[in-house]
Subunit: 277 residues, 2 copies
Amino acid sequence: MKVLSQNTAFGGMQGVFSHDSLACKTEMTFAVYIPPQAITAPCPVVWYLSGLTCTHANVMEKGEYRRMAAELGLIIVCPDTSPRGNDIPDELTNWQMGKGAGFYLDATEAPWAENYQMYTYVTEELPAFVAQHFRVDMTRQGIFGHSMGGHGAMTIALKNPGRFKSCSAFAPIVEPSTADWSTGAFEKYLGGDKATWRQYDACALVKDGARFPGFLIDQGKADSFLETGLRPWLFEDAIKGTDIGLTLRMHERYDHSYYFISSFMDDHLKWHAERLG
Amino acid sequence: MKVLSQNTAFGGMQGVFSHDSLACKTEMTFAVYIPPQAITAPCPVVWYLSGLTCTHANVMEKGEYRRMAAELGLIIVCPDTSPRGNDIPDELTNWQMGKGAGFYLDATEAPWAENYQMYTYVTEELPAFVAQHFRVDMTRQGIFGHSMGGHGAMTIALKNPGRFKSCSAFAPIVEPSTADWSTGAFEKYLGGDKATWRQYDACALVKDGARFPGFLIDQGKADSFLETGLRPWLFEDAIKGTDIGLTLRMHERYDHSYYFISSFMDDHLKWHAERLG
C-alpha cells in the first residue's frame, strides 16, 4: 500500500492510498477516513461510491462527511469510479463510458473486460485490502453513493444482503438498463444480451427476487437528470408488494451537485450508524 | 452583476457571482452563501479571506461552512485573493506574488499598483456591492480567514474596529513584514520603505496603537509553515499590556490544509455569531 496523503481532520485521519489491483490489473487509488474512535476499537465501515466523472477525491473534498463520521465513529471508504492509467481503454470524448464511468460492474466485452472489473474490485478486492490494513469491524458494513454510485450501492446491497446492514443513495440511477446515460455503457461493457444487464440494475434485481431490508434515497427535484436518468419512482414501483422498505425524500430546489449531497450527508450517516449499531 | 452559479445547499443558496471592479480595474469573482433565514430578514455577514494560491472557490468547496452558517443565520462572502485576467501583472513561477497573492493590501509600486488594490476592494468596493445586491445587515459584520487571509482579516479588523464586531483566523500570518513568504511580495507591492508595510501587519498595527476587542486563532502544530511563516506567538507578544483579547488554540497533528480549516469551522462561525447577535 502506498500512502499518498494523510491529514488530521475532526480528530481522526483522512488518508489517500493506492495499491496494485488484481481485479483491474492497474494501480487503484482510494480514500479512507478513520474516526478518532478507531484508536481504541474496530469501527464499522461505510462504503461511498461516487458518480460519473468522479474519482475518490470529489466526495472527499466536497462531501462534508468527516464531522459526522467522527461523531458516530464510522470509517468511510471512497473508491475510484473506474480503473485509471494510460494503458486503460477509454472513450476520451464520452464521459458516460470508460474512465470515470465503471458503473460498478464486471465487464465481459473486449476491450473493457481486461480492466473494468469494478464490481469485483469494490465488493471483494478492496474490502479484503481495507480489512487487512485498517482497524475495521467487517461484521458491520454499510454502503451508499451518488448517482452512478447510488446505482452501485443499491445493486451491491441487493446482491449481498448478508454482508451489508445498511444502504442509502443520493439521486441514484435506479434502472440503468433503460436510462439515457447508462444504456450505451452497459451495451459496451456487457454486450447486447440485456438479460446479463439485470444483475446490475436495482429495479430488475428486485423484480428477479433480490431483497434488502430498506433504503434511504434523497433526490433533488431541480436535478436536471431526474426525468431521464434517475427516476426514483421506478424503484418505488419495483418494490411494491415486497417487504423492501423505502424512505424516498424529494427535495424542492436541490440539484445533482455536491451541494445537494453535503446538505443531506449527516442524515445518511445517521441512517447507517443506526443500522450498524 | 453576473450570476455564475447558484446551488441550493442546507436550505439556503450558495452562489458565485462576478462584477467589474473599479478598484482592481478587472472583473472580480466572489462567492456568497445565503442562509435560509435571509428569506425573512436581513442577516449578519461574515467575510472569509482565503490564503495564497486560492480563489473564491477553495473554501466554498472544502471549507464546510454552510451547515453551521445555515443554522446560525450567517451570510458568508468569500472574495478572490487577487485580481485575475490575462492583462493583470503576475509572476508566473512565484506563488507568493501576483495572482493568488494579493495580501489584502493596496499596492503603490508599478506595475502592481494599477490592479492590486485588494484592501480597497475587500473593505470598500465589495461590501458596497454586496450590500446593494443581497439582504445583508451591514451593522453586523465579522471577518475571518486562513493564512494570508488570516493576515487580511486581522489587519482589516484592527484598522476598522468600528465596522467589525468579530474577527477570527485559521493559521494567520501575524507578522508578514518579517515572514519568509511575504516580505518579497511586500517589497514589490509597497516598495522598500518598511514604514509603509506596518499598516498591513497585525503585530505592527497593535504596536502602533490599533485595537480590537478580541481574536480567536486556531493553529495546527503540524503546520509546515508554523515556524517561519505564521508564528502566532509574535501576536501573543504584541498584545501584551493591551486590552486585546486572544483565544489562541494550538492543535496537535493538524496541518495547514482545508482538513484543518473545516475541522474548526463550526467553532469560528459560533464565535462570530455570538458577537454579531
